[in-house]
Amino acid sequence: MAISSPTHGTADIRRRTALGALGGMGLIALAGCADGSEGAGSEEVAALNEVEEITSADSLVESPMLAERVEAGELPPVAERMPALEDIMIEPVHEQIGTHGGTWNFPTRSAQEGPWDIGKPTEEALFRFTVEGDGVEPNVAKGFEVDDDLTEYTIHLRKGMKWSDGHDFTSADVMMWWEHIMRPEIFGRSVYDAFWSTDPSTGERAMAEFSAVDDHTVQVAFQHPRPMFLERVAIDAKWMFAPAHWMEEILDEFIGEEAALEIAKERGFEDLAGWYESACYYYWFWSDRPMLRAWIPTEDAGAEQVTWERNPYYFKTDPAGHQLPYIDQLSLETYQDPSHVELQVLEGHFDIGQFEFGSFTLLQENAEQGGYQVRQWEPAGWYSNGVQFNMEPPDETLRELFHDARFREALSVAVDREALSEQLTLGLGAPQQSSIAEGRPFHQEDWAQRWASYDVDRADELLDELGLTRDGDWRLRPDGEALRLVITQQSDAPQAGQFEELLKHHFEAVGIQTDVELVDRGRFGDLNDSGQLQLTTSGVIGGIHPIFRPDTVVPLRAGTPWHTQYGTWYAAEGAQGVEPTGDIMELITLYREMSAQTDSAAIDDYAEQIIQLHEKNLWALGYTGPVPTLFSVSNNMANVPAETTFADEFRDLGHGRPAQFTFIDPEVETA
């Protein structure tokens, strides 16, 4: 079932992380049979993927598109473009060895609204998450070593690897990124969590130190043990390199501020900050910027349609020696409204389209005519429709109520989950509590049933117990005023207003006056950050593992509505926000201790405790279980996983390894 990750000869370099043994938690692949292997074929595929190393330069095969250019003398031969044979990365194929050629029609939002639409699927991180999702594996890097107390990481790069313009990729590129881009924080982000180690006794943080051992080895040293370093890099920093030769031409550190500003203006920016953010962070829109991605833009962004072409220096091949990617070109087409993608998928134009679950019926009914199949990727959230309580609302009475588990339970059992499932999720979202699904790590028995029945009497009973007496239709607060709740949601969320309307209906049936506020993004952000929300249906909590991206389950910074004030407190080290108490504080304590552990079993242990606190408290109530994200995949495309996990940590579609997506018959795929 599991596809073995690319392993070269010697065992120590480039193994999975110490956490690979998260299997200790009974970690079955996160999405059942993760790669959706279709029975009989899986053994063949596994056999195909047995190859560990390309042994001879003759077995390298490049796309005819590039072979032409080599013939014309425009490009060096493939063996010279790829890394040294033993350092070439072999990407396992999902179903079959592919064929070079074809154009992938790719719908995307405009560069301003959706830079990640193309950014995530084409990303090449230093280390990326494995297909099973249980840890990270080397990607751009060839491997790593770490000392026993997790204070020194040695990262090995690939010899002979080159940027898309032919320049060598060396440790100088990693150092350039660290010394001149990340540390001076020139692209508008502060130094990422990954690069800090915490003193277990004092809680003080110290920044990492980078050094280049040689052209292909980088050392990252920490003062204190830094577990999960590479995982955090994969999530926060993603890549950890930048083309030194190109950066030297544009950074003011090297060419002076005046010259740098001139370049910024030429590129259409008013100041250096904007330009650097674009050049160093959202850089994949610049056609002259050297990259490591499988495809690179042939023209700058701005037009409604932009073509990306294969990178001749891409460092991966398939097990048979074909240089990846299989697909020659991407045609990025901008759309404004999701209905456009729907129509053009129905028509058969877009080869892969991503959809919310609501489009399921339309897509399925037209699948035959449109020549595609609908794939369902599981999300990492704990629910599809749920509500979060802001645990520190400005109103004192509400605060007391929210902190009382009985109030939350009342609001949980007052709602008919079966009905909501039909109305909001086409009957597919299980009528259950916000929880982790069976088969996934940290699943807790009976969690899904907790407070999940539809029991209006019990709700009334609990509310009466809390002293919220009824006067006519409505319940009163202790101070005599009518109890009012406000549910806030963003006005441009899909199905905005429908779920909230139903909640209002159910809450009012137990006597709580409810108002629904649909606000635009900016306003929502303001309300959230200042802690003024009461209840909100925006956002989902959960995630792959609390140690990877703890944001929604542990208050580490502002942003997640249920713990915004506490997160602010933690991030500002007490200067702002509100200090948490009780179980919420316990979350932070457990997280701190978890971060200091070096043993995977111990980490999992703490993680489970964190999860159990969530099960007990249910600060966010879920009403319908998770529903998949849908992908429509053209019948002419292969190697796209039928089922796997859809998560931002795994870079959405990127988790399917787009470089090995192939057209079965590229000839029919022109524009």
């Binding site: 029609n105 301003q112 609204e113 990640w116 508008g188 982000r189 502060s190 999530i235 259409g268 920016f269 008013e270 100041d271 900050a273 904007g274 953010e277 674009s278 701005g302 037009a303 409604e304 349609q305 073509t307 045609s331 087409e333 901008t334 759309y335 404004q336 409204d337 209905s339 456009h340 129509l343 053009q344 129905l346 028509e347 134009h349 963003q490 635009d520 993004r521 900016g522 306003r523 929502f524 952000g525 303001d526 959230n528 950050d529 991206r549 944001d551 910074r557 502002a558 942003g559 602010t568 991030a571 500002a572 702002q576 931002d648 022109t670 524009a671």
Partner: protein
């Protein structure tokens, strides 16, 4: 006459300035600003901006000044350097963003206008001449239907019908295979094909109105004294129509041309969103929602100026064409 034109032109300037102030004020009226919008967007991407970083961003964009200060700085920039300001969302000067969509906007608008006038006038004449005939009723009904259906729904229905009947929903202005390719006959045909739905959707409302006006005017003119005299004298009917009735009937129509353009510009925003047209409408809408002050302000100001100019042209044309007013002026002078 000249004095009248000059006077109107001069009064145009303070009007435009006042409009720009109001527009600017209205844009920043909703609570929050561009940074709050951006912060939320980043959060949804998994990024975080600390409070300090947000403040820095606000300062960088000048959003921590009160709105009138921002406005004055902006106006000064326009007047002194022709600098329309900076679009935060696009990280580019506003002018660059506007230029990008100007061409397609004009194409769509002019095509819609051409459709409107070229279709409405003949139909109006026909309806007047053959009043109460089947053709009259059919055209009137179709026109009314187009006008009575909200644009956005009409657009999506037409798109879906285009998909079911022709297998191609005709989104956007060009089929993907032609982008980047040179201009050829095939490409022009493709463009025209894609223009059908937008033009029909945008144009039908004003077409209908125009048909009715034309029809009404023609009916008025056709029963006038001089026409009846000519008819009695044996002048051919078609000449009668052309020389006497139509010319007079066209007067009020011509004078409303100035407004049609702006009406089409503004009316096409929703349609452009639904049909995925790369025109200014959707850009402006998202700029407005994100409170991208200068981009939204520039677009709105531009449209306001167009309207003012349109009114001016209409008034001038009216004054010039209408012999009564013209004679009155001469008499007075």
């Amino acid at each position: 006459m000249l004095k009248y034109v000059l006077r109107r032109c001069l009064t145009m300037i303070p009007v435009v300035l006042i409009i720009s102030v109001i527009v600017f004020w209205v844009i920043q009226l909703p609570p929050g600003d561009f940074v709050s919008h951006r912060v939320l967007q980043l959060q949804q991407e998994g990024e975080q901006l600390s409070a300090v970083e947000q403040e820095a961003l606000r300062e960088r964009y000048g959003l921590d000044d009160p709105w009138y200060v921002q406005y004055l700085a902006w106006i000064w920039g326009i007047l002194s350097r022709g600098d329309l300001g900076y679009s935060f969302a696009y990280s580019q000067p506003v002018l660059a963003v506007m230029e990008r969509y100007m061409a397609t906007t004009l194409i769509v608008a002019l095509a819609a206008m051409a459709f409107t006038y070229l279709v409405a006038i003949p139909i109006g004449v026909y309806s007047a001449v053959k009043q109460y005939s089947l053709g009259d009723y059919v055209f009137t009904t179709v026109g009314f239907l187009g006008m009575a259906t909200p644009n956005f729904l009409l657009a999506i229905i037409l798109m879906y019908l285009s998909y079911t009947w022709f297998g191609n929903p005709m989104l956007g202005l060009q089929s993907p295979e032609f982008s980047g390719a040179g201009w050829s006959a095939a490409r022009v045909v493709d463009l025209l094909g894609h223009l059908v739905i937008p033009v029909v959707v945008i144009g039908t409302a004003s077409t209908c109105e125009l048909i009715r006006v034309m029809r009404g005017q023609m009916l008025d003119e056709m029963t006038k004294q001089h026409v009846m005299t000519a008819r009695a004298k044996g002048v051919k009917e078609s000449t009668n129509l052309r020389k006497y009735s139509m010319r007079a009937a066209l007067n009020p129509i011509v004078s409303t041309i100035g407004w049609s353009l702006t009406a089409i510009f503004t009316g096409s925003t929703i349609t452009a969103i639904v049909l995925n047209l790369p025109t200014q409408g959707p850009v402006m809408l998202s700029a407005l929602m994100a409170q991208d002050m200068y981009l939204a302000g520039a677009w709105l100001g531009f449209m306001a100026i167009l309207t003012v100019i349109g009114t001016l042209i209409s008034d001038i044309l009216l004054a010039w064409l209408d012999p009564r007013i013209r004679d009155e002026r001469r008499a007075r002078a």
